[in-house]
């Protein structure tokens, strides 16, 4: 994508993510992430030119929550934007912060995504995305067994169920290494057969452990212009590119739909623009928004433009593990940690930590030059963000 100037990620802060944060109110929880991001960047509130804020109002039922949250996010006396796009919000905030810095309007932008899901009803909140005249009584939040049904139909129940549960076990193995992760179960390989049969189902073959968690938490990131980033940070992660692909209002297209998924569409576009011809080898790590292990499994094929059962084999052979061909979700992913308004930002933040070599116990073994992060939301919307260890070479080009 054309850019007026380069943008580096120089500060990252995450709260510990948990099912319950009775000890803080909303702005206080946000402040924890903001303070950590400032500390990471070696900055104070005075260094911030603009604050970008987002979540989903109906989860906590606060109208224009950026007003109250000024107390915690540091926006007093400063410009600020609030953008919300459902589950993709966190990634949209990243794109917005990149846009605002690249535009030259602001040199340093603090982006904050959060959710305090304990304060509302997550599934009830999501159900209200359906049209009030159509489907609101039918929808059950983001819970659906249709992804499972499709994978089972294509690959057979036994192999599909095993692969989805194996995906879940690998994610948990990663989450165990991440001190911020919410759900850490300690699943092991040998538990898979029992889990496949005995974990309670939510919808169809979507079972409790397959589904993402409901977490309280916040993520804050500091984006700076190339000048500032190079001055203030020894190892910024650089924004290479991002692609946002939304799709129509309803989910109602079914039955061997030939329509290209937003995941494949976004990936195709991103790879074309950035000279990526062999994504599995050129991309070093992928932080995927995996709302469930079934979706996560299915989308590996879409995001890496694969055919056949390659994606299943990648899981079965642990090529997505910490030292695999393409580590996916070293953080443990969304099935482990899901404060929704922050979730898609956490994907980018975790990818940036990998680029910066700052992920600690869940740092992947290989050197990370190029990292990919995805966001998911709305009616199967996708945002893809590409980060690099080296700033992109700017050239005059038309968008």
């Amino acid at each position: 994508m054309a850019r007026n100037r380069n943008v580096g990620i120089i500060g990252i802060g995450q709260t510990r993510h948990s099912s319950h944060r009775e000890d803080v109110n909303q702005p206080e929880m946000i402040h924890e992430a903001v303070a950590l991001a400032l500390e990471d960047a070696g900055m104070t509130r005075d260094d911030i030119d603009c604050v970008v804020h987002g979540n989903m109002e109906l989860f906590e039922m606060v109208h224009q929550p950026d007003m109250w949250h000024v107390i915690g996010d540091g926006a007093y006396g400063k410009p600020g934007y609030r953008l919300t796009t459902g589950g993709t919000t966190g990634a949209t905030l990243v794109c917005a912060a990149d846009t605002l810095v690249a535009s030259g309007l602001y040199d340093v932008v603090l982006a904050v995504g959060f959710e305090k899901l304990q304060e509302g009803h997550t599934t009830g909140g999501i159900t209200n995305m359906a049209d009030p005249l159509w489907g609101r009584e039918l929808q059950t939040g983001a819970l659906t067994g249709m992804a499972a049904a499709a994978v089972i139909e294509e690959f057979g129940a036994e192999r599909a169920k095993h692969a989805a549960m194996k995906m879940r076990v690998i994610m948990d193995r990663h989450a165990m290494l991440n001190p911020n992760a919410h759900r850490q179960f300690g699943f092991t390989e040998d538990m898979i057969p029992t889990m496949v049969e005995n974990v309670p189902p939510l919808v169809g073959e979507l079972r409790l452990v397959h589904m993402c968690s409901q977490s309280d938490g916040a993520c804050a990131m500091i984006f700076a212009s190339e000048d500032v980033a190079k001055k203030r940070c020894p190892n910024p992660a650089w924004m290479m590119d991002h692609v946002t692909v939304h799709r129509e209002e309803t989910f109602n297209l079914f039955g061997n739909v030939e329509e290209i998924t937003t995941m494949r569409y976004a990936a195709t576009k991103l790879y074309e623009r950035n000279g990526i011809t062999d994504p599995l080898r050129q991309i070093d790590v992928f932080e995927m928004y995996d709302p469930s292990s079934w979706w996560g499994l299915d989308w590996i094929r879409e995001f890496f433009l694969l055919d056949g059962d390659r994606h299943l084999r990648m899981v079965e052979n642990e090529e997505i593990g910490m030292d695999g061909l393409i580590p996916i979700n070293p953080s443990g992913g969304v099935v482990a940690t899901n404060p929704i308004g922050a979730t898609a930002m956490i994907r980018v933040a975790e990818a940036a930590l990998q680029v910066r070599g700052a992920a600690g116990a869940h740092q992947v073994k290989k050197e990370v030059n190029l990292a990919l992060a995805s966001g998911f939301g709305g009616t199967l919307w996708t945002v893809l963000v590409l980060l690099s260890k080296n700033p992109p070479v700017l050239k005059e080009e038309r968008p």
Partner: protein
């Protein structure tokens, strides 16, 4: 705060704002047909000829206003289904729903393409539901101009596996 056992205050409430939702002319036509004539009407994009269920103002693909209404159903074929075991709150009341229930996407007879109608299926036994089963819309006697004027879809016993057009 080193006050480890401090009492933490919590405030529980149901927040509610009464609404009046407009149907607009397109959804309005659709709901009136359900209410007055027990007819399921799709509308079609004049460019790509796609069927919309429920009818929509604009075709997402062609960015053009959708046009003619066409009667479809009331029978069709299950294209996908979800048996929901999780009881989430009813958005109209904030109270928990009854579970399990089954939602289906039905490819109604007369629809050309892949746009399905999303509704309830009167069956929750997974051994009795599969893709391709024929189903029929069952209307309520009392109808109000709502999508729930269709009570649910019933499996047509002995119905052969229908071919999607």
């Amino acid at each position: 705060m080193n006050d480890v056992k401090q009492e933490l205050i919590v405030l529980r409430q149901i927040l509610s704002i009464p609404q009046k939702f407009s149907t607009g002319p397109v959804m309005g036509r659709f709901l009136k047909e359900l209410r007055d004539n027990r007819r399921i009407m799709a509308n079609r994009c004049p460019r790509c000829r796609r069927f919309h269920l429920p009818p929509r103002e604009v075709c997402a693909i062609c960015r053009a206003p959708s046009g003619e209404f066409v009667e479809v159903g009331p029978e069709g074929v299950i294209q996908s289904y979800d048996i929901v075991y999780y009881a989430s709150p009813d958005p109209l009341t904030g109270e928990a729903r009854q579970a399990p229930y089954t939602t289906v996407n039905v490819l109604l007879d007369g629809v050309q393409g892949k746009d399905t109608l999303w509704h309830l299926l009167n069956e929750t036994d997974p051994t009795r539901i599969r893709r391709g089963l024929r189903v029929r819309a069952i209307f309520n006697e009392q109808r109000t101009g709502s999508i729930h004027d269709i009570k649910y879809f019933d499996i047509i016993e002995g119905g052969t596996k229908g071919a999607a057009q």
